[in-house]
């Protein structure tokens, strides 16, 4: 009897060992590309950037039984919890403010390891867009994370031990660092620095994943001779740009696709003659653009500047490059902060442009065939009130991601309806980091002409923009969207409610109050046959901080220095 028990026990132990060694395979490019259903291996879910889970255990018929499985409190969540969790082989990795990294048992929440990088607190205190962190990358047995003081770290995936660290930018001088998640592909870690409002040249870096050595650097401000000519009066020195959200990798063309931020100052007093007048005469390449870089060399292969001479801060920094195929054609879908969605081929040639957002008046339109801006609204110094500029500086879309569901063929994306009044100022050029930002105007949030501020989740055809359904929210949701093969769409909203909708109809099937607003990621994964949904809760930061004074209500008492990772499964 005992002997039989012992034998069967040995068999079980043996099986467990085999299973765990099979599970502990390395995360590499091929594995991220194939995006196995149990994992979430890269910021956008896979290189296709679908933010979609093929898991269907939690589905439209049983989602009513969804409840909290476990929670994790990262602590010191200054400006909320903004990160996208990652999951590999049953372990969940996520980051909090101050670039804190946690590795947790994905089934129980038990902490396996944590790493709190030592940061210069005096530097952090001087920074404006700090100290939140939006995620990590996995590859070759390591977890990669950027820090607010300009470093990229390679941590041992099993222990959290620092295997290498590389200083990429002089944050003491520039005051900027890294808040966005890196991207791992083909032995390389790519990360873009903060940019836009600062006098820098917005570098995007590639680092060798094994050694931590820098491979190349691409300057999004005047990074080529051609681009240098698009910054009149030496205005490249006032800079901007950067690529602070992770883009993606196209293995077929060996290309990194990345979105870039705006030039500085955000608002220009040039008037209509922006090619020769104003703070930064010319198109200001490669700001507010989507760019394709050779992953091995960092050489620019192709680009499209979504907003030539962006005078509104409606940049292209959103990191989604949704890769689709339809009727034998390959497309890349990229939302622009101004509220338009651009559809490209794989070489970033424009195939279509459609409107996600109703209230847009910085241009009359964008030519869907060429991407050319029609009826630009270029300001001179002075007030902009009639009508106010739409959208608001927070954008028609925020930096968080939508979701494409290959089963429904629909793209689920949050749109934001709000505007702003402005007083554009003729400022003196800022060429060295002085007081920090370089905005170029006083501004204030305003309702759309003849309407109210609101947000909406749209279910649309990603190529044509045809709308199937829409759900509205009194204040724009700021978190990422997840859709699943269980015919579900999850939206974590700003008030703190996590909603689940029928992916075909938009009917709300379930919701849960997480107790604080959302502005981070949401993913799904599976361990030992059980499906989980993990969402980052925790409000605060550049856009969230506008909610209390403008909307009052629950935002008045909502903490902006707190957060939790909340994980759900079926009862």
């Amino acid at each position: 009897m005992n002997r039989r028990w012992l034998n069967s026990g040995l068999v079980v132990i043996g099986a467990t060992l085999i299973a765990s060694s099979a599970l502990a395979q390395s995360v590499d490019t091929a594995r991220i590309e194939s995006a196995g259903q149990n994992d979430w291996l890269t910021y956008h879910g896979s290189y296709k950037s679908y933010h979609y889970s093929p898991l269907a255990q939690i589905n439209a018929s049983n989602v009513g039984n969804l409840s909290v499985a476990w929670m994790h409190i990262p602590g010191r969540s200054t400006r909320g919890l903004q990160s996208m969790p990652l999951v590999a082989d049953g372990v969940l990795y996520y980051t909090g403010s101050y670039s804190r990294v946690f590795a947790l048992n994905g089934a129980t929440g038990e902490v396996i390891w944590s790493h709190f990088p030592e940061l210069d607190e005096v530097l952090i205190a001087r920074q404006t867009h700090s100290p939140y962190n939006r995620g990590a990358a996995l590859g070759e047995g390591k977890v990669f994370v950027g820090t607010m003081d300009g470093r990229l770290l390679g941590l041992d995936m099993k222990s959290g031990k620092v295997l290498w660290e590389t200083r990429l930018i002089d944050s003491q001088k520039l005051t900027v660092g890294f808040t966005g998640a890196p991207l791992y592909a083909k032995g390389t870690v790519i990360i873009g620095a903060q940019g836009g409002e600062w006098p820098g040249r917005g570098p995007i870096f590639a680092v060798d994943a094994t050694t931590g050595k820098k491979k190349w650097e691409f300057l999004t401000v005047a990074g080529t001779d051609e681009a240098m000519k698009t910054w009149g009066s030496d205005s490249w020195r006032t800079g901007g740009g950067g690529g602070w959200m992770p883009g993606t990798y196209d293995s077929e063309t060996n290309t990194i696709l990345w979105g870039t931020a705006n030039p500085a100052p955000l608002y220009d007093w040039s008037g209509a003659d922006y090619k020769t007048q104003g703070a930064r005469p010319g198109d200001n390449l490669y700001t507010s653009s989507v760019i394709g870089l050779d992953i091995d060399t960092g050489k620019l292969k192709f680009y499209h500047q979504e907003l030539p001479h962006d005078a509104w801060d409606f940049d292209s920094a959103v990191g989604e490059f949704v890769m689709l195929e339809r009727d034998g054609q390959k497309f890349v879908v990229h939302p622009n902060k101004g509220g338009f969605v651009f559809v490209y081929d794989r070489n970033l040639a424009v195939k279509n442009v459609w409107r996600l957002v109703e209230n847009i008046n910085f241009v009359k339109d964008i030519d869907p065939k060429t991407g050319a801006l029609i009826g630009r609204r270029d300001f001179s110094a002075g007030k902009v009130t009639e009508p106010p500029l739409c959208p608001f500086i927070g954008g028609g879309v925020s930096w968080n991601a939508g979701s494409y569901n290959p089963k429904t063929g629909l793209y689920y994306k949050i749109g934001q309806e709000w505007c702003m009044t402005l007083d554009v100022q003729k400022t003196t050029p800022v060429t060295a980091p002085q007081v920090q930002l370089n905005i170029g105007a006083d501004f204030k949030m305003a309702p759309p002409p003849g309407g109210e501020i609101y947000g909406h989740l749209d279910a649309r055809d990603p190529i044509t923009g045809a709308k199937k359904w829409e759900v509205r929210y009194p204040e724009p949701p700021l978190g990422s969207v997840l859709s699943t093969a269980g015919n579900l769409v999850f939206v974590p909203d700003s008030r703190g409610i996590l909603h689940a909708y029928d992916a075909e109809t938009g009917t709300e099937l379930w919701n849960h109050n997480n107790g604080t607003g959302h502005q981070g990621g949401i993913v799904s994964y599976s361990i030992n046959g059980k499906q989980y949904i993990a969402v980052a809760a925790g409000f605060g930061g550049m856009l969230a901080d506008e909610y209390a004074p403008n909307f009052g209500g629950v935002y008045k008492s909502m903490p902006r220095d707190d957060g939790a990772l909340v994980v759900f499964s079926l009862k």
Binding site: V122, L163, Q172, K383, D423, T428, Q434, V435, K444, M542
Partner: protein, 145 residues
């Protein structure tokens, strides 16, 4: 200048430390590296103590003195990003027009900031410049029309 040199040294050491991590950890080389590491560590500690003292002075280039110090432009460039409409309305930060806070409070808040809410500008502005900012705040009136 001294600080720049010290920072560079630290960067160099980072590279050296990386190199160590990459080496095969054979016993002989390990001993050698341990010696090297101890030497580097003491150098690094020396460098960081050099950095530690003038930490405030390491901040970004100070704003130019009075003559060209234009607070209205400063609001359009930086402060107004959070204090909406040039300080006349609440945004990410509070409304500054008609602020109930006294001058000392404003001075200290501008200088030291508030964790997770407002950056510290003590390295960017002199006390005299902070006083000019307060003067601008006190003079704020609603926009006409």
């Amino acid at each position: 200048m001294l600080q720049d040199i010290a920072l560079q040294d630290i960067v160099l050491q980072d590279i050296a430390l990386q190199d160590i991590a990459l080496q095969d950890m054979e016993l002989d080389t390990l001993k050698l590296h341990l010696k090297k590491f101890t030497a580097l560590l003491s150098a690094a500690l020396g460098a960081s103590s050099l950095c530690a003292a003038p930490v405030q002075a390491q901040s970004a280039t100070p704003a130019p003195d009075n003559g060209t110090f234009d607070v209205e432009q400063l609001f359009a460039g930086t402060c107004g990003f959070c204090h909406s409409d040039g300080g006349r309305a609440a945004g990410k930060g509070p409304q500054l027009m008609n602020s109930p806070r006294d001058d000392d409070f404003l001075h200290i808040r501008i200088k030291n900031g508030k964790s997770g809410a407002m950056p510290a500008f003590g390295g960017a502005f002199t006390d005299a410049q902070i006083d000019q900012i307060i003067k601008y705040i006190r003079a704020l009136k609603p926009r006409e029309g």
